[in-house]
Symmetry: C2
Subunit: 378 residues, 2 copies
């Protein structure tokens, strides 16, 4: 391997091997352990996908029942943690509350420092389960409501939606929430997974790694983008206005939220799946406004920028879907974090099988070596 | 730039340019902005070094006074945060309490989300100042003591030592604590700085980035190593036993703590500086036991492994120094974090001048594409 220059952004630099997922950016395909996300979204569920990512194979019926049961039993959060989070400033970002919540979970988890394989897997299940409860809870606290008890009769995604909104979801809402969790579960090595992996490569604990992932996902260049895409859609009144908006922004060389991706050079497959559910949900709600605005933005963008390989990404359609599910935009990125926790952890567990401390270099371009000058001579 | 293979560990892969620091691993030299750490340790102080790292030049007298004053004024921690940290389990790792403390500081800091240059610099100063108070406070809380009020008459390092131990340091103790902060302030891109940088590259906030740095530093392959080096030294009774210990461990192919470094292929210059202060401190305390054991381990290791370029690193001598300053080993890595906060932030501020999202890749080696198999057919 020859290394010359500076690999800023680590574009196209592979830092690990994986069997967890692969993205075909040219064809717009995403596979988890070889299965396409289209098929998983249609036929699987988040519990099964989590097992798949952690164990790198689909579970048997018995294994799935056992795994789902374990996830269900770990949903509660100690009351001490709720009462701490309740006292944090209402105006602070939900992602920061979630991160503090995960750190506190780690502090209160007496098993967090165990390093054998079985203990790490149990910790993984605790985190993946509880992080959804945390997201719903900090969301409700911010609205001045109390966190709700998990409902053991609902699956992971439906229970999350219930804990966030206080309403039991119907069949379509349940399916959409499950698909949301499946499609956000894993995406190879974006910044959040990379941050989590760097932390884990020092043999630090899983809570610390997940906390770093949340900190990275918060950024507007990463998970923070879905909120902004919805803000854009909601600021536009009609499809005609949408066309004018896109042309005006492009003329001013500004970026349009919900488009373009470091890896995809065509449609993000997740965007297409969300789009089809947005159509169903808009039909059910008899409210097609966001759908029509997003559709128009998409067609204008493809007309104007398709040749530059800038296509819709997941953020364009996930925001409107969440909005029609009755969720405020501040919970969008936290939902992404709750779903992605399994992807972060799967990559860490895989990396730990043959760990190497991640320690890159910087290229020095500064002055010196030079002598120190005492302050009265400066 | 041609990229082939997997850059696992990112060994020797530069991910940014910098004027902040450079390591000459062959010669065993470390420079901050062109000034050798030997000269800075002798003639400068942590406040000045922090200014140097953040502004990439030494301050004038007036600037130094102003900067030191700002740092001094930001030392206090809101009482709400102390009362939260007081309720966390006493047995939990101090690094986790520190991380939760930093996340809570971010939650309570109404300015944390501001992104203009001046606001970011103010946030940087708040973090660098308060993190030392947090470290001393969680250390005292864990011992069942109350955090102490900062003493505005003491400089950053001396005040930290006072807040941790409850005793005003004498001249040598003050100097050693200041040198400790200087020598731990910056070291290019170890895993902790990399984790902080990955988080910051999404344009997330400084608290989230520093929190990720703490999570990475906690790991036994990184900051956690200094505790273990002291454990080793304290488990040995005499220099003769030390020699036997090293030979026995090497024969069993085990690593000796406090030796070897990814970048240094000779003495870590910081180890040599700490060694000279350990000599002075041992003299003052009339207690040369740890010094003599460390010296013997060093000479046996160099005799046995010097040809393999495995030399003492900073951890071999920092632990005994902290021990003779009256500090328990659980505070060693948190001290490292408090001092390094400025290095993490300096790299982030430098990177933000021309930011690029850090998004590496993984090489897929798994099965597929393949069709989903329903659970009853598995």
């Amino acid at each position: 391997m020859s290394i010359t220059g500076v690999y800023k952004g680590l574009d196209n630099v592979p830092i690990k091997e994986t069997v967890i997922s692969t993205i075909d950016g040219e064809k717009g395909k995403l596979y988890y352990v070889g299965y396409s996300v289209e098929e998983l979204a249609e036929k699987s569920n988040y519990e099964e996908v989590s097992f798949l990512l952690l164990h790198k194979r689909l579970p048997t019926g018995e294994e799935l029942k056992d795994f789902s049961n374990k996830l269900m039993k770990e949903r509660t959060i100690p009351n001490e943690i709720w009462s701490i989070l309740e006292k944090t400033p209402p105006g602070a970002p939900l992602m920061d509350k979630l991160k503090a919540g995960v750190d506190l979970l780690g502090l209160f988890d007496g098993e967090a420092e165990k390093t054998d394989k079985a203990a790490r897997l149990s910790t993984a299940i605790r985190i993946i389960s509880k992080i959804a409860t945390l997201v719903a809870g900090v969301y409700r606290l911010k609205k001045g409501l109390q966190p709700l008890e998990p409902d053991p009769g609902l699956n992971h995604a439906s229970n999350f939606l219930y804990m966030a909104t206080g309403k039991k979801p119907n069949a379509l809402e349940s399916k959409i929430m499950d698909v949301t969790f499946i499609l956000h579960a894993e995406h190879e090595l974006p910044a959040s997974s990379t941050a989590a992996l760097v932390v884990a490569s020092t043999l630090s604990d899983l809570y610390s790694a997940v906390s770093a992932g949340i900190g990275a996902l918060k950024g507007p260049l990463h998970g923070g983008a879905n909120e902004r895409a919805l803000e854009m859609l909601m600021s536009i009144k009609t499809p005609e206005e949408a066309e004018q908006y896109v042309l005006r922004e492009l003329a001013s060389k500004r970026k349009i939220m919900g488009f373009g991706h470091r890896v995809y050079k065509t449609f993000d497959p997740r965007a297409l799946i969300f789009k089809s559910y947005l159509e169903q949900l808009s039909e059910m709600r008899k409210d097609r406004k966001l759908l029509e605005i997003a559709n128009r933005i998409e067609s204008v963008m493809i007309r104007e920028l398709g040749s530059k390989l800038i296509y819709p990404n997941i953020d364009l359609y996930s925001g409107p879907v969440f909005n029609l599910l009755g969720l405020d935009k501040e919970i969008f990125t936290p939902i992404f974090a709750a779903a992605r926790s399994v992807g972060w952890i799967a990559h860490i567990l895989e990396y730990w099988e043959d760990n190497r401390l991640i320690r890159p270099r910087a290229v020095y371009i500064g002055p010196g070596p030079r002598r120190y000058v005492p302050v009265d001579e400066r």
